[in-house]
């Protein structure tokens, strides 16, 4: 059986996340930081709901009404020059 990739940008598999949770017995946020799931180029655009579902399942931390795992700007990949205020990317 092939592994199930959860976060494709950082190539984190379901097994990686489960193993990290079992080894460190830690919070959803710490699992995310340790595995880098959802922290790749797309900023979690593709896997955010999947990462949330896995982490909720493993840690029992219910998201509730707050959006799980805080959304940080930039919410799209942007160049450093755009972030630095040079709008036309020069």
């Amino acid at each position: 059986m092939k592994e199930t990739i959860i976060c494709r940008c950082e190539e984190v598999s379901l097994e990686d996340i489960v193993n990290t949770a079992n080894t460190h017995n830690c919070s959803a946020r710490e699992i995310k930081l340790r595995t880098r799931a959802g922290m790749g180029y797309c900023g979690g655009r593709t896997c955010r709901p999947a990462v949330n579902a896995v982490l909720e399942d493993l840690t029992g931390e219910k998201a509730g009404h707050n959006v799980p795992l805080k959304v940080q700007p930039p919410v799209r990949p942007v160049t450093l020059s755009v972030l630095g205020g040079n709008r036309n990317g020069h």
Binding site: T4, C47, P49, P73, P74
Partner: protein, 393 residues
């Protein structure tokens, strides 16, 4: 300083812009896609009345109206951050930094992935990507495909692919895991299937809508679901079979399909290899609300609306001053509802009480008559989110 920036040029954003321009507000619409229209562009389905809903035509109607009113629309521009200031908002985009008094977020919905082994192979795409490639870019996505995920959206798009002459083997469930959960649970999927029954020229599925209310009968139907699936437009729909793995070395070559129990557990020894060159995965939609989250708008988690939704009232106002939301960011519904909600937000921003009242009534009427419904409890969800708003003011 602009009067209002609208993020998203889908049906909600465009109709809001039109409403604002009727009052001559200084409006700017931005959208990161190269063309305006949002998800409307890809839509093509036949209504129960026999009429066709053609998204490209509907977009043209909105754009013509917007152009007549000299509306500024910038495409290919992504908003990546917004900040609140004393007098309004700073909108950070991939091009310019915009200053505006009011802000409308109409960013629509995103697709939830259904991760199954092999889903990162080239040739695997979300069902929405297949829709955009087929109906917007007119690119043939493959020669023979299969759909993993059975729901309103995937059934409608599978039909669109068929109309475009693309061969689909069948639709089946994704294999059960912590992420696919309900999408891999035959009984829960059946519940959704009976809601699309009116789209299907299959006697069983139409019969199905009659027992939608009774979960006992539904569970029986799941149990005795035929091995060959039920056919919708000649294509088998399986709820007792799951795609357990997508196979191939450099690209999709086949999938492995297995029989599953009524709870979605794989029955060993039932593996079957099906040769396909593309796979569409369909895990449902959720409101794309990241920008509302960045600005600190309060949220509610409401399954009835499709996930986390920014708190707002019936006028589409949020508790954050000058911040409005409209369309699928407020809950997953059809394009007609999104378009009507946009008008509400626009008239609320322009402060046009008479038109606002009419637009709010129109939303209710359109919701009542909707032929495509993503969530059955939408009205209950709407009531909850509007109550939540009351708690903030």
């Amino acid at each position: 300083m602009l009067d209002v920036v609208i993020i998203g040029a889908g049906p909600a954003g465009l109709s809001a812009a039109i409403a604002c321009r009727e009052s001559d507000l200084d409006v700017l619409v931005i959208d990161e896609f190269p063309k305006p229209g949002g998800r409307l562009l890809g839509q093509l389905h036949q209504e129960p009345t026999g009429e066709w809903w053609n998204g490209i035509k509907e977009t043209e109607i909105l754009l013509n109206r917007a152009n007549t009113l000299n509306t500024k629309i910038e495409c290919g521009v992504s908003c990546h951050h917004i900040e609140k200031t004393e007098t309004g908002y700073l909108v950070h985009t991939s091009q310019e930094l915009y200053k505006t008094k009011k802000l409308l977020i109409a960013t629509g919905a995103a697709e939830t992935a259904a991760p199954i082994p092999g889903w990162t192979l080239p040739g695997v795409m979300s069902i929405g990507a297949a829709q955009v490639m087929t109906n917007v870019h007119r690119v043939k996505v493959g020669n023979k495909g299969i759909v993993a995920g059975v729901n309103v959206l995937s059934a409608a798009i599978a039909r669109e692919l068929q109309i475009a002459g693309i061969d689909l083997h069948s639709m089946a469930l994704p294999v059960k895991n912590t992420v696919t959960k309900d999408h891999a649970h035959p009984e829960k999927v059946m519940e959704g299937l009976v809601r699309i029954a009116h789209l299907a020229p299959s006697p069983f599925l139409r019969f199905g809508s009659k027992f939608a209310q009774s979960s006992k009968v539904r569970d029986l139907a799941t149990k005795f679901y035929p091995k060959g699936g039920f056919k919708m437009w000649g294509m088998p729909i399986h709820v007792r079979k799951a795609i357990t793995q997508i196979n191939g070395t450099d690209k999709v070559e086949s999938v492995t399909m297995c029989d599953v129990t009524p709870e979605g557990d794989v029955i060993p020894g039932t593996e079957e290899i099906i040769n396909v060159d593309f796979v569409c995965i369909a895990g449902g939609l959720y409101p794309l609300s990241e920008l509302a989250s960045v600005i600190g708008c309060p949220f509610r988690y409401l399954e009835e609306l499709g996930g986390h939704v920014p708190v707002h009232n019936e006028q589409m106002e949020t508790p954050v001053e000058g911040l409005y939301v409209a369309g699928n960011i407020t809950g997953i519904e059809s394009a007609k509802v999104a378009r009507a909600q946009g008008a509400v937000a626009g008239y609320a921003i322009a402060n046009e009480p008479e038109r606002l009242k009419q637009a709010m009534q129109a939303v209710k009427k359109i919701r009542e008559a909707a032929s495509i419904q993503f969530h059955p409890q939408i009205k209950a969800g709407r009531a909850k989110i509007h109550r939540a708003y009351q708690e903030y003011v």
